[in-house]
Amino acid sequence: MSALRSALRHNGLTLFFGVLFVVTLVGQALTGLAYFNEEQRGAGLEPVTLGQYLTSSVFAVDVTENWQSEYLQFLLFILATVWLVQKGSPESKKLEDVGRESDEEQHVAEHATESSPAWARVRGWRLSVFSHSLSLVMGGLFLLSWLAQSITGTTAYNESQLRDRQDPVTWAEYLALPEFWNRTFQNWQSEFLAVASMVVLAIYLRERGSPESKPVGTSHDATGVEG
């Protein structure tokens, strides 16, 4: 029992957001179904079941357009913070640490410690891949989600076109339509606003105990300090 409690405590952050993800995805599915069926009935068409809605492109495009923008946000944040800094922000590294940093600072190859991951200990392709693995996975998930958005978006758009007695389009044609880019940009802009707000607000504001904030008494000028 104490082992379970310990596992829950050690993984609380992941579990909390994992549960929130599932609950809100269910909420999106149920409200999306209600909205879709409202439109179906309005057009004199048959409502669909939850199972049919969950496997529809209409649901898939609404999900994936949000996912791709989240992965893009984290990908750009991870990469931009290597080279760009913000004085006073705990989201930024120290002003003098700009760049990839030395092997010693990164604890790789001959500077690795006993607890360093295996791929960080020896020079070669494994170290190169592992040194960028976070960006590679985030970038891959972004591209995959964006591709999924474009494919399911084409089907959802065409379903709407046919309902309105208009011709469907190909995937390539859909990529050039305002519909695709509007869905994309409306998600991107909100992500970038959120990151910029976090970087700037965290210079002057605090949340005691949060590693996303500087310690309450730390000066506004202190950069790269987390609570």
Partner: protein, 140 residues
């Protein structure tokens, strides 16, 4: 979220994509339904034609001609637009989600899924530039 969590989310994205693709409806069944409607109208079988129409299309026909669907669907201004396509065969059918479009020789037909069955929402349709098709039967 951890890398594991993100990998799981990525796997879900793939699942969503796969499920969306696997749910692709059968366009050839839609083509068969469209051809059956044309043949029924061409052979003046109004009752058979009406069983292939979506409820909203039946309602629209009955309201426009103030007659039962079986008679309304054989009115010259409807039947003439549709029976031209008889015997011409399908030039292509596409289905997306719960909607389909079938191009016949001289006609375009729009359909919707009702359960597992395709029903016609619009027939006798001609394209218009930058506007929806103009259809002899239109509802739903």
């Amino acid at each position: 979220m951890t890398a594991t969590g993100r990998a799981a989310a990525g796997a879900l994205a793939v699942l969503a994509l796969v499920s969306a693709c696997s749910a692709s409806p059968d366009a050839s069944a839609a083509a068969e339904a469209a051809s059956a409607l044309v043949e029924a109208v061409a052979s003046s079988d109004g009752a058979a034609a009406c069983t292939l129409l979506a409820p909203a299309a039946v309602q629209a026909l009955e309201s426009e001609f103030s007659a039962a669907c079986e008679e309304a669907v054989l009115e010259p201004e409807v039947a003439d637009e549709i029976e031209d396509a008889a015997g011409g065969g399908s030039r292509g059918a596409q289905a997306f989600g719960r909607q389909a479009q079938v191009r016949l020789e001289g006609d375009t037909v729009f359909l919707t899924l009702s359960g597992e069955t395709w029903l016609v929402t619009a027939a006798g349709c001609t394209p218009r530039t930058d506007q929806p098709y103009e259809c002899a039967i239109e509802g739903g």
